[in-house]
Amino acid sequence: MRLLTHNLLSSHVRGVGPRGFPPRLQATEVRINPVEFNPGFIVRMIPKVEWAALLEAAGNLHLIEVPKEPIQGYEHNEEFLRKMHHVLLEVEVLEGTLQCPESGRVFPLSRGIPNMQLRDEETET
């Protein structure tokens, strides 16, 4: 699971609503996969990122410092874009957990695949 994916995830345990975002990420195994740098892609991705969630996840993974917010004029700042490219696309969590910040429910992440399925009793409305 890449951090760009994590940025989209939200726990949907019954009753937590928007407070299920973002799931707390813990990793026991992380891999770095080189990915071809595509600045246009990253530039377009930046506005879509929920920055606080990204900061928190990158922090939990003890990654390089991620700027607190997109740099002014980031579209032309290659250093910034490369850093974001690395954080969003090259870091892959292979083993770990995702925890609902509201309910504490833990979702497994194994072989790079998060499993966010809920049991019936957790979903019935």
Partner: protein
């Protein structure tokens, strides 16, 4: 009601995909060209979700976007992951995403697996929720109206023909290499079939001379791993060659007495009257009125279950003789949804019509007219002949392809039904276009700007 629906889906959707996932190794699935086009038209830098991605055939179509594949079936997701895709396991009914995160979403051959109208609506609404305003959603569902087959009811159980899938990957080491794939990104031996039409692409390519959508065939040809048979005019044994040596020997080692087979087919056809679905509006699909003739290169029509009928062809058919029903690797047991309740919302579980139908092949993709007509229906009996009193004794004959095993539930959609569903119940989506694509009703809808 919802529990019964969930139980049905567990038994006849989730468990089936989970059991058959290991067999999704060799046969290429059909990547619908219009879906590919939809994905390629998305702006660079888009975030896209494939909800019900199966083994991930759409996840790498567009390298300029970030596509996340999700599926309920962990084994299928594992296969997609092994192909280098970004994937996860989740439930369409409770998507674990924040609101409005995705620029586009595709749902190809998924909604038709939900067994109640409410669940279908819920699945669509969940996708609409996680779609950004202005973002587009593409949905494909199997159409009830088919040129070459007849669905008696909208809620059907369609058998799975295990014969059409290769052995589990661990046993079929060389199968993948025997079928080089035209598409560079599919170098991996796993060439998963579409979740709903595992083998249609194999046949698709053979029919291209007759198909009106030659462009589609080209793309199918490029993508199919069964490269041998995808060439037009390929000799009639091409398909069998493609299956691979080890696969063929696996079958021939389990050759069966044909008269025994016929008896089993007669037995399994009708549902036991005591089974709950015998009283429901679900039907088991009857045998197709089509024949298989090795003399015609474009014979094989799309559909994973066509081969089911081949199994029981007389030995005089030649190369087919060795293709016998294998031992089922897993039989679905006789458990049924606990309670059948009446329900007025169009849910099949509330129906009371007895069903007596024959098992049939699965055909998510509509075949060409010429292709299917050349099939020969093997047994004389059809739904009118079946005896409702016969029991399906699936446990007693371990050597027979259990026609009830791996049966998948579908709610096939009538023309206009999908659009009607959106208009009536998902007002946050605005329909941009709709139509029929190879036997599927498809819709492209846009999330309205001023929602939520």
């Amino acid at each position: 009601m919802d529990h019964a629906a969930a139980q049905l889906e567990k038994q006849h959707v989730h468990d089936v995909y989970e059991s058959t996932a290991p067999y999704f190794s060799d046969l290429q699935s059909k990547a619908w060209p219009r879906v590919r086009q939809f994905l390629q038209e998305q702006k660079p830098g888009s975030l896209i979700a494939d909800i019900g991605c199966g083994t991930g055939k759409y996840l790498k179509v567009n390298s300029q976007v970030h596509t996340l594949g999700c599926d309920y079936c962990a084994p299928l997701v594992e296969i997609a992951r092994s192909r280098g895709c970004e994937v996860m396991v989740c439930d369409n009914l409770n998507l674990p995403f924040r609101d409005q995160g995705f620029d586009a979403i595709i749902s190809i051959g998924v909604i038709h697996h939900f067994s109640t109208k409410q669940r279908r609506i819920r699945a669509i609404k969940e996708m609409a929720r996680v779609l950004a305003p202005g973002g587009q959603l593409m949905i494909y569902v199997w159409a009830m109206e088919q040129k070459n087959r007849h669905f008696e009811k909208q809620d059907v159980l369609v058998p799975w023909n295990k014969a059409l899938c290769s052995q589990p990957f661990s046993e079929s080491g060389q199968l993948g290499r025997k079928q080089p794939c035209g598409r560079p990104e599919r170098g991996h031996p796993y060439h998963p079939p579409c979740s709903a039409c595992p083998c249609s692409v194999c046949f698709e390519g053979r029919c291209n001379s007759k198909r009106s959508h030659s462009v589609d065939c080209d793309s199918v040809l490029a993508g199919t791993c069964c490269a041998n048979i995808s060439k037009e005019g390929e000799e009639e044994n091409g398909f069998y060659n493609t299956l691979g040596k080890s696969f063929r020997s696996w079958f021939s080692s389990r050759s069966l007495d044909e008269s025994t087979l016929r008896k089993q087919i007669e037995k399994v056809r009708p549902l036991k009257s005591t089974e709950s679905w015998a009283n429901s509006t679900i039907s088991i699909q009857p045998s197709r009125h089509s024949s298989f003739d090795l003399g015609h290169p474009e014979t094989l029509s799309a559909g994973e279950q066509n081969l089911d009928e081949e199994v029981f062809v007389e030995p005089s058919q030649g190369p087919l003789e060795w293709l016998r029903a294998p031992t089922t690797c897993k039989q679905l047991n006789g458990d049924h949804p606990g309670v059948i309740r009446r329900n007025g919302d169009g849910n099949f579980l509330g129906g009371t019509n007895a069903q007596e139908s024959c098992v049939d092949e699965d055909n998510f993709e509509e075949s060409t007219a010429s292709g299917s007509k050349s099939w020969r229906r093997i047994s004389a009996a059809d739904s009118t002949d079946s005896n409702p009193g016969d029991a399906i004794s699936v446990e007693e004959q371990p050597n027979v392809l259990d026609s009830r095993a791996f049966m998948r539930y579908y709610h096939v959609f009538r023309e206009g039904e999908l659009c009607g569903l959106l208009k009536e119940s998902v007002s946050e989506l605005h329909i941009l276009s709709s139509g029929n694509d190879h036997g599927n009703w498809c819709v492209i809808a846009e999330k309205r700007e001023s929602c939520d």
